[in-house]
């Protein structure tokens, strides 16, 4: 068993209170993770103003060079993991063993984290919309004769992280390049990726005083969100509700991502099946950018049938099978609860599980300690049906028929929308739609990222604010 300590801005800390992580298949202990308390976090945050100054004093070019090294270490080095050392493959297997996400998904998503580390200049260019890097050293730059000045909004960035997929870690990885100390609170079952990224940073020369890995409970997580000047947190709508009006907290909740057909493409739906299947089911359908609905002005029955045919063949496979298409639930009661919610919803008239009909077997599969939910496509007659606007931790989508002229008013909050249309007027409406965050026009899956653009919030505008800056004179040192 691996013993993973907390990292308290430079000091490893082995606590008397530990969380034991078990293999989702065998139930055997895999790791013991030291837990810290909210009061420890509060105490540790007392040192971050100094750590921020130290980090800010490092030229951004040097930091970017550290990212390059860290990227290499992350993928190719055996890095410390508590009292063990793990290669990339060992790390991926441990990650899969405690989260239930198949090895093949873990590997793919961990490589996204590597991508961000190794392409950090592209990523921060995307987040800052091409701001010259010297602005991060001096606090300002001039472009086209115009002053552009920024100031940091916090001495530390707190990341309260989930356990579902390592892909989300690509969101906080740029923090150090923005010269802000980083405090991560890992998800209970996923200490592996944050710990490995931090170890890669440390080996690459990032000051230990700027990095914290603080596993804690719900109360400790609330303390992080209370005490950090800026933070991000992952959680469902209910958990995140208290932070909805707190501008200091960037919320990553339910995505309600969608495909939206225009009139002009609704009859060509078969052409877009691949894109829709990827958007719904890639990586086991667990991300907030996975589509959970398809809206079309025509052919909803045929689209539902077409998607179901493509998805109904997916099987529950062992965690290390390279052909895995769905993730296991490390806690089978969660799978059972989701399954019950869908069955309850289907009791209300106006919705049909099209996949179940084709598959002929139940969507819930149980084996030993583990459970899976097989892909599910539900044809809903109305957007008001309880299953129409739902998102679950497995490949699930509703298919709804609704006129093009009203669809953008009805879809509600949408993290990622793919508009399948070439109609300039409809595209213009989509561009102006205030409830859509990420917009793809044309056949692109909802989960496809462009790293040179902000995505799911903008870390730079979260950590920095623009300010007016004037110099009466320009002394040599300024």
């Amino acid at each position: 068993m691996i013993r993973i300590p907390a990292l308290r801005f430079g000091k490893p800390y082995t606590s008397l209170e530990k969380a034991t992580l078990v293999h989702h298949v065998t139930g055997e202990p895999v790791a013991e993770v030291s837990q810290v308390t909210g009061s420890m976090i509060a105490r540790d945050l007392g040192s971050v103003a100094r750590a921020h100054k130290e980090l800010a004093a490092i030229p951004v070019r040097d930091l970017l060079a550290m990212y390059e090294k860290a990227a290499d270490y992350f993928l190719n080095a055996a890095l410390p993991c508590g009292d063990a050392e793990l290669t990339f493959d060992q790390y991926v297997r441990n990650l899969s063993s405690t989260t239930g996400s198949p090895v093949v998904f873990c590997d793919r998503n961990a490589r996204k984290v590597h991508y961000v580390l190794s392409h950090i200049e592209e990523v921060i260019g995307g987040l800052t919309r091409g701001l010259p890097l010297d602005a991060l050293d001096a606090g300002y730059t001039t472009r086209g004769g115009r002053m552009q000045a920024f100031y940091p909004t916090t001495d530390v960035f707190g990341a309260v992280l989930p356990s579902n997929s390592p892909g989300v870690h690509s969101l906080w990885v740029p923090t150090i390049a923005f010269k802000i100390p980083l405090l991560v609170k890992p998800g209970r079952e996923e200490p592996w990726t944050p710990y490995r990224v931090l170890q890669a940073f440390l080996k690459a020369g990032v000051p230990a005083s700027a990095l914290a890995f603080l596993p804690t409970d719900h109360a400790g997580a609330a303390d992080i969100l209370r005490l950090c000047g800026r933070s991000m947190a992952f959680g469902d709508d209910r958990t995140m509700a208290p932070y909805k009006s707190d501008h200091r907290v960037e919320i990553h909740g339910t995505g309600y991502s969608k495909f939206i057909f225009g009139e002009d493409q609704a009859d060509q739906w078969e052409k877009h099946l691949d894109v829709m299947v990827e958007g719904i089911a890639a990586n086991g359908g667990r991300a907030c950018v996975n589509a959970s609905a398809v809206w079309t002005p025509r052919n909803a029955d045929a689209i539902a049938e077409g998607l179901a045919k493509r998805l109904a063949g997916a099987k529950a496979r062992p965690w290390d099978d390279p052909a895995c298409e769905v993730s296991a639930f490390a806690n089978p009661s969660v799978a059972e609860a989701i399954n019950n919610m869908i069955d309850e919803g289907l009791k209300e008239p106006g919705a049909v599980d099209v996949t179940q009909k084709l598959r002929g077997t139940p969507r819930l599969v149980k084996e030993g300690r583990v459970a899976w939910l097989l892909p599910t496509i539900v044809r809903c007659e109305s957007p008001d049906h309880p299953l129409a606007n739902k998102e679950f931790l497995f490949p699930y989508a509703s298919v709804i028929e609704w006129p093009q002229q009203d669809v953008l008013k009805r879809i509600g909050y949408t993290l990622a929308a793919t508009v399948l249309s070439d109609d300039p007027a409809f595209i213009a409406d989509a561009l102006a739609c205030p409830t859509v965050e990420r917009l793809n026009i044309g056949p692109l899956p909802t989960n496809r990222l462009t790293w040179d653009q902000p995505h799911e919030g903008n870390l730079f505008t979260h950590l920095y604010k623009q300010r007016a800056l004037q110099h009466a004179r320009t002394p040599a040192g300024v």
Binding site: S15, L16, E17, Q35, T37, G38, S39, M40, A42, R43, G46, A222, R226, P242
Partner: protein
Amino acid sequence: MKDTPGKPAPVTGSTLDERVKNARAALDAHIRETIRWHFSPDTGTPFWLEKAKTFDFNPLTDVSGWDDIKKFPFFEDDWLRGGPVRRWVPKGLADRGVYVFETGGTTGLPKSRIVIDDFKIDYEMMSDTLPDKYFPKGSNWLMLGPSGPRRLRLAIEHLAQYRGGICFAIDLDPRYVVKCIKERKISEANAYKQHCIDQAITVLAGGHDIKCMFTTPKLLAALDESLRAGKLEDKYRELKKPVPPGGLRSIKAAGITGIFSGGTEFTPQFTREAYEEMLDNGDVYMTPTYGNTLMGLACSKPIGPEDGFKISYYAPQPRAVIEVVDPKDYNQVVPYGGTGRVLLSTFTKEFFVPRFPERDEGEREPPFEKYPWDGVSGVRPFSELAGSTVVGVY
């Protein structure tokens, strides 16, 4: 200050076995005397005299010691909800002034317990365990804990007075905090906690030479956080007082030398954190206690890094007894080191509680030199009830 009459004689014996034997004999004798008092028509407690009518044994003749306590039904705390409260005052003490202390009461009726001298005796016994080096006689105290109809407020004040000091207190209504938490008004609960800490900071800035303090784990951590954030220094500046060299950014720097603390939130990890990070590696002495209105006060074995900050509590026998029992059979004591539910019994002239199942569980600890009877360690909310327990600020 003179001792309040009623303190038990110290246990004698030159070996642990002898001390265990003598402690048991003293317990049996004390129980016989207590039962006679509560069940005699002249001195007895109206509640118990009435209850005895339903017993199939005669407490006056059939109880000769600890083993016979099992003849009584388990004490039900619901008996303490609602009045008339006088039914709990023994006839033999009817001419004395009576306090009532309450527990619970956020919703519904609180449990009420009458007290005359018990809290004084309990805390005087506790005082004898405090090291004078850290709790200097004559020094003043801060009671940073619940006020209102609680035993603690008066008990800590008495402790301070017994040791020759004067006790400052704050206003703290724990029922309001529990209500906020139940209604998920977390920021309101935090604001109230800060309001309590602000009162403490004001007292500490007042120049009262406070060296000793009672507080709870959560309030200790909150006070530490405020001191580190410079709140006491800010208060000094506000009062136009010079901030002493070296600052006032820790509990030690604020002048506190000894802390007496309590609550089931006292985990070994919290104790370690407090010892290492709030109290300058033990420069400020802290002693955890486990107590409640029904029992009195159980003292802890000294805590520290040498035994992994393990906390073991021992009841003030013979006035109270702790048992750790099988949750499925309360008549079965678990083996030493085994986990079970905590059962409390109280035997004083003011209050008789036969075997009350507490809302806590823990591990059974063996007797040792200072406390030659069973103890309990690792006290935490009883797992079968934990979901329904709301822990507020204490």
